[in-house]
Amino acid sequence: MVVMKMKFPFEKRVKLAQGLWLLSWVATMAGAVTFTLGCVLKTELRRRAEVMDNTEIHVVPNTLMIVGVASLGINYFAGRICQDALDAGRFPRWKNFLKPYFAVSCFFTVLMLLSVIMSYAMKGNLESSLKIGLKNGIRFYKDTDTPGRCFQKQTMDRLQMQFQCCGNTDYTDWFEVQWISNRYLDFSCKDVKDRIKSNVDGRYLVDGVPFSCCNPSSPRPCIQYQLTNNSAHYNYEHQTEELNIFVVGCREALVSYYMGLMNTIGVGVLSVFLIQASVLVSLRYLQTAMEAVAGQENTEIETEGYLLEKGVKETIMEYLDPVFKFLMLNKVEEGEATDS
């Protein structure tokens, strides 16, 4: 039972070969674009690597880069094959090459689709990675003298200013951590001693935020300290004050930034996927149409092209049989080895 038969007279075959040659060039550039998009995403993820706990999200740009490079190779061969296709003398040498070629090409094309699905599926993973990374960033903000953490302060400050966000979930995260180093606290001052003794861990907690949380759009100079104390500032009420500091949490800001980036890239990759799939489909039709011509005296006869010779299930079994045989052969060999 043949899947999707189509009749191909001589002119149609010629047109198919020419169209395929042009399409393979377009697909090559699309593959290069995919590789570039993967590089862009990886660079953006690396830039903020300090506030991410793990690099699992990097599997998305890595896959895109691999698929981009692979599609360059796939389309190069597609172009060569269709150039030789209309010459009945040169086409047969590609015969043995085409079966593994289609297997590999289908694999990489499906991988392209998978990478787009992964970029949406890994949103939760990204969010939890950022949650832990930002929590550490806030915790180690004050440790500018500890090797390995010297630049946490600068990283957090620049992040908050660039993404216009404050804290992890929101600005109150800064109230739970001592973000002013002991080096700059005057322990002979009564106020400082009281604050430290007021909590179990002996930390100097303030209801204040760093300057990088300040919103430049605020009409009044920034209020960073004593945020919850209305009487400490003239004409100030913290429940209704909106523009003073950034209200968005940095986790939310970063997740929406990366999701927006991956959405844009996903749309581009989907169109590349469609182009690549059409290249493979056209090549398959051309191959089957030309195979029917082989051996005939009149090369201008009408032939039939199809996608799959047998049904879908049988074709999949046909491809997987060699793989199973290989695995079974290993098992038999192992059995013999243990016997002897």
Partner: protein, 340 residues
């Protein structure tokens, strides 16, 4: 005696035409680049026009845009002429336009030279405009409720954050103006009243700076207020403290940025002048070698190409003589008219 004659046979003429066509394409790309740089420069000036009192001069970017468009047109025409030059049927229609075209190219090169000079010289005008604009910006920082100046605070804050600078000349400029609006000052407070009455104009002056002057690279949380008072902060000496706030003035930072941009554009224009001159020389050689063919019917004959028909001195004296006769003709005509 021709100036710099070169002998050309057919393969050499063909190579010259091909090389010249490629060179015209490159020159057209450079023309597009100048056009886009002009637009980019214009946008950068508009972005910060608030810092320049909205009266910055857009003459140079407008001139760059114009030069870019003219360069594109000139090079496209030159490329077309070169493309047609080796076809004896198409070339004759371009022949009469060549002399005015080359004269126009000469004039265009002189205009490019003037543009490059203007690019380098505009930096001084920009320096003066910025000095005024920033002074006013600092003065109107607090006027977030005055129509027309609502966004001065935000613009100045964002500029200080982006360019890592503070104040006009340096951070002390903030000590001389009242940058906290009266709306947020508690006039019933004794301290506030003392400060306001301590100076002639009744301004609330402090030795403090806005939060946007803070340096994220500082190891300690930002000290914005009581900057000159060492005892107000623990372990702080304002004379040796370097990383706390930005020490550079914004005028210096902005001038360096725009100066760098204008220097690069000026350098690119000088490069364009050299490229255009090479184009003109190549075209002159090509056209003279085609015109001086001894046997027009036989394309393979040898011919000679030159830059100037006579020597440099003779060409210059010819040119002056022409200019004189043009002036004299006018005089003779006037004399004749006066006589009648």
């Amino acid at each position: 005696m021709a100036f710099m004659p070169v002998k050309f046979d057919l393969p050499k003429r063909v190579k010259l035409a091909q090389g010249l066509w490629l060179l015209y394409w490159i020159s057209m790309m450079v023309g597009i680049l100048i056009f886009s740089l002009g637009i980019f420069f214009k946008i950068e000036l508009r972005k910060r026009s608030e810092m320049m009192d909205n009266n910055e001069s857009h003459f140079v970017p407008n001139l760059l845009i114009l030069m870019g468009m003219v360069a594109c047109g000139v090079n496209a025409f030159g490329g077309k002429v070169t493309h047609d030059s080796l076809d004896p049927t198409k070339f004759p229609k371009w022949k009469p336009m060549l002399k005015p075209y080359l004269t126009f190219c000469c004039g265009f090169n002189i205009l490019l030279l003037i543009t490059a000079l203007l690019c380098f010289l505009m930096q001084f005008a920009l320096y003066l405009t910025l000095a005024d604009g920033l002074k006013n910006g600092i003065k109107f920082y607090k006027d977030t409720d005055t129509p027309g100046r609502c966004f001065m605070k935000r613009t100045l804050d964002m500029t200080q954050i982006e360019f890592r600078c503070c104040g006009n000349n340096n951070y002390r400029d903030w000590f001389e103006v009242q940058w906290i609006s009266n709306r947020y000052l508690d006039m019933s407070n004794v301290e506030v009243r003392d400060r306001v009455m301590s100076n002639v104009e009744g301004k609330y002056l402090m030795d403090s700076v806005p939060f946007s002057c803070c340096n994220p690279g500082s190891p300690r949380p930002c000290i914005q207020h009581h900057l000159t008072n060492n005892s107000a902060h623990y372990d702080y000496d304002h004379r040796i403290e370097e990383l706390n706030i930005w020490t550079r003035g914004c005028r210096e930072a902005l001038v360096a940025y725009y100066g760098g941009l204008m220097n690069s554009i000026g350098g690119l224009i000088l490069l364009t002048i050299i490229l255009e001159s090479v184009d003109m020389a190549g075209l002159k050689y090509l056209t003279t070698s085609l015109e001086s063919m001894s046997d027009p019917e036989n394309p393979e004959c040898e011919s000679e190409g030159w830059l100037l028909e006579k020597g440099v001195k003779e060409t210059m004296s010819d040119l002056f003589a022409k200019l004189k006769t043009m002036g004299k003709t006018n005089q003779v005509e006037e004399g004749a008219q006066a006589a009648t």
